[in-house]
Symmetry: C2
Subunit: 211 residues, 2 copies
């Protein structure tokens, strides 16, 4: 077995995370240690570590002595996630508008163009990736590492729920992204915050209905 710097556990976690977020493993699917161990060609120890990491992120449920499964997010929990995420995206957009980071803004502009293109062509893989990039870079522009970290996890968990609507809502999504970025560039904290918060709520409504 070849060894590299990031521990096996880390890499297993990465692999599992991807398989969950791309819906190759679906909510409720059991994650049996022995089984994963064979499948990925490592012993159970790194598998266990990975499962704990993912459990901490909320992507996996683990019950003592009964094993792990892909998290199944109930509509109630989804609403809770949305409420928190909407608030934090608002805070972050406010901070981004305040801090005014030209380099990141330039990158965001590029992502925006690519996103609009993908929205017209309807390429789902690209849309998912670009949407992630947009929110990630925006979080970077907020310059708050704690916020960045929490939002990353919240985004993953909500994406587990909203995945179905990525294609359908693509146009609105990217038009809203555009408005948010404009407000950030203008340094209009209040408007950036309101738009970002509203953006999350609207994306949620498309899947959960108004609540």
């Amino acid at each position: 077995m070849k060894l590299e710097h990031p521990s096996l556990g880390q890499r297993v976690a990465e692999e599992l995370r991807r398989s969950i977020l791309t819906n190759r493993r679906k909510p409720g699917d059991r994650l049996v240690e022995e089984q994963l161990s064979e499948e990925l060609g490592v012993s159970r120890i790194p598998i266990r570590e990975a499962l704990r990491v993912l459990a901490a992120e909320g992507l996996v449920d683990v019950q003592p002595r009964r094993g792990a499964s892909v998290a199944d997010i109930s509509p109630e929990v989804a609403r809770d996630l949305v409420e928190v995420r909407a608030t934090l995206e608002g805070l972050n957009a406010r901070l981004a508008a305040r801090h005014h980071q030209p380099e990141i803004v330039a990158e965001l502009r590029e992502v925006l163009t690519a996103g609009n293109r993908a929205a017209r062509s309807g390429n789902v893989d690209d849309l998912v990736r670009l949407n992630g990039e947009f929110h990630d870079k925006l979080a970077e522009a907020g310059r708050n590492t704690i916020l960045w970290d929490i939002m990353r996890v919240l985004r993953e968990r909500t994406s587990l729920v909203f995945a179905v609507n990525t294609a359908r809502r693509a146009r609105e999504d990217w038009s809203e992204h555009s408005e948010i970025l404009a407000a950030v560039i203008a340094g209009d904290e209040e408007r950036a915050a309101v738009l970002a918060t509203r953006h999350v709520h609207r994306a949620a409504e498309a899947t959960l209905g108004k609540g």
Copy 2:
């Protein structure tokens, strides 16, 4: 060895968490697996699990192949934590005011009286415990499990920083708690939110200075 339901890892995590939050283990202290293993009388496996859990909570730093240590929170990170926590305490107070939960409010009233008593007598242990209870119950009143969970972790991490000031600021703390609860009871969402947010910022300023 006696076995009980919560796994050893869980109990080790609990034990370590307490020792960190009570400052028996200080920021920067190394957490050597073998050493903890002997000290707590279990093998290294549960120790590792516990360290991962605490790392996910931000109470412990672990670097691959170099081991774990009690998290040392820089002033910059502390400011970031405060910014996020202030916002979320605001959101939660708003939700608590909206949802109007008589039973929890009754409990909060009791904690408040006990807190004011402790503030006058200056008993630090009681102050820490009651402060935790107040915020925990308030979080419960918000009825958002995601928010509750995130705030618990943020509170632990900020408490690591603010610990020094618990006694000094006790009077103001509890007077502010009282105002927040009043706004919650009155169902005044906006006022509850503003007060809760301001409360966190003020507690932070006592330690970090205005930022």
